[in-house]
């Protein structure tokens, strides 16, 4: 058996193990209101997925959070470029990033709800959670560019854009990829949490909030399962896009 096939089989076995643990726990509890079984959750998810509203809701939430993540990637990379050039700016910005990383996300959600319209809060929160990770990883990537290659660019007087494309970008990409890997899940979870607290119309967060309100635990589990599946899907998709940009350097 090939190594990837063995790994896939192992992942499947681990998944089945935990589903079994969940099913046994649900049977022991015996009340779907407290703990629905995996089968009930799956059935509910399939029922939800049959309606167009489900896909519209997922689509809106995904777009909102992705917009936040994209904003954070652009802003984080731009700030990293600036702080790479200016140690003073880096000294000024570093404590702000540390503060953002260590402040509970709920505090930011409440503050953003006070300052901004509820529709935009999930986007801002997702961006805020991803920003420090992107900034710090891209900064590391920039600091790690081989100085010998920069000297090469200087001696051969490579145009700035060519040096950026051929030296800076491939040097930073592995760090950006690592940032996306750790920040995507974070941004998505924070975005959905912000939706739960701000309940913007037609969002996953609103559906989770309503399921909790009406004690629809099975629906709550189904929506949570949807969040996990979408999170995995987005992560795979975006990392594949980055890998394509990275080319043979991967």
């Amino acid at each position: 058996m090939s190594a990837p096939a063995r790994k896939a089989l192992q992942t499947l076995a681990v998944l089945l193990f935990w589903l079994l643990v969940w099913a046994l726990a649900a049977r022991a509890v015996g009340q779907a209101l407290l703990l629905p079984s995996p089968l009930e959750t799956g059935r509910e998810l399939v029922t939800l997925a049959r309606s167009a509203v489900f896909w519209l809701t997922v689509g809106k939430s995904v777009l909102r959070v992705l917009a936040g993540i994209l904003l954070a990637v652009l802003l984080g990379a731009a700030l990293a470029l600036l702080t790479h050039k200016s140690p003073l700016l880096k000294a000024l910005l570093a404590p702000v990033m540390t503060l953002v990383k260590s402040t509970p996300v709920a505090s930011f959600i409440i503050l953003a709800l006070v300052w901004l319209g509820r529709g935009i809060v999930p986007l801002v929160i997702a961006a805020l959670m991803v920003l420090p990770v992107v900034w710090s990883n891209v900064s590391q990537g920039l600091a790690g560019i081989d100085p010998q290659l920069l000297e090469l660019a200087a001696v051969y007087r490579l145009p700035k854009l060519r040096a950026l494309r051929r030296i800076t970008w491939p040097s930073v990409l592995p760090h950006l990829r690592a940032a996306l890997r750790s920040a995507l899940g974070l941004g998505w979870k924070a975005g959905v949490a912000a939706e739960v607290l701000t309940v913007p119309p037609g969002s996953i967060g609103k559906r989770i909030y309503e399921a909790k309100l009406y004690l629809e635990t099975t629906e709550l589990f189904a929506w949570t399962a949807a969040v996990v599946l979408v999170s995995l899907g987005i992560e795979r998709l975006l990392l594949r896009l980055v890998e394509r940009g990275e080319g043979r350097h991967a």
């Binding site: 010998q148 290659l149 000297e151 090469l152 200087a154 001696v155 051969y156 007087r157 490579l158 060519r162 494309r165 051929r166 030296i167 491939p170 080319g247 043979r248 350097h249």
Partner: protein, 195 residues
């Protein structure tokens, strides 16, 4: 074309260069010789404006400069052909020219390989091919032939001399034979200067 005047440099307590002056006219060839650690590489770096001296001045009027460093300094994520094309235009239209340089340096079979797949000697030849490809006015060579095997050494030396026939060359080497083969006037290290 290159005027390095009264350059002084210290590393801590050690005086490396002491009011050192070298001048290079168009097409002129100079070889710097001296024991390891005497400051040959440092002087080349100063001439390329990669390092600032403690005092003295450097004026370089060459419109195209190329260098072969002691390390090949190849982009690890680019193929051999792309590494040469990088200094030409990095567009597809100059790729045939890049490949022809690979051929001249006997590296044609390596055109699609990444530097990590090449031997030390091949990497150094690739670095030399990249330098020659830009048809430099000033070619700076820091022991560029040391990793090459005996069989190739003579051929590559002749090729370099021929391909860079209009270039001014500043060479750092331990080998008088290399200096002579490239037609260089030899300056030897003495008390912080090359004379």
């Amino acid at each position: 074309m290159l005027d390095v005047r009264d350059v002084t440099l210290r590393f801590g307590e050690k005086q490396i260069l002491d009011r050192c002056t070298i001048q290079l006219e168009e097409g002129e060839r100079l070889a710097l010789m001296g024991p390891s650690g005497c400051g040959k590489t440092t002087l080349l770096r100063i001439a390329l404006s990669l390092q600032k001296p403690d005092s003295g001045s450097v004026i370089c009027t060459a419109s195209r400069t190329a260098a072969v460093f002691q390390e090949p300094r190849l982009l690890p994520w680019c193929t051999a052909a792309e590494n040469i094309n990088l200094v030409l235009s990095d567009r597809a239209d100059t790729m045939p020219e890049a490949i022809s340089w690979l051929g001249r340096l006997e590296l044609l079979e390596a055109r699609d390989l990444l530097p990590a797949k090449l031997s030390g000697g091949m990497q150094q030849r690739l670095s030399l091919a990249r330098a020659l490809a830009v048809k430099p006015q000033l070619l700076v060579l820091d022991e560029p032939f040391k990793a090459m095997d005996e069989a190739l050494h003579g051929r590559i030396l002749r090729l370099t001399s021929e391909a860079a026939k209009n270039a001014a060359i500043l060479l750092a080497t331990h080998s008088e034979e290399e200096a002579r083969a490239l037609g260089c006037r030899i300056l030897r290290y003495r008390d912080g200067r090359f004379v």
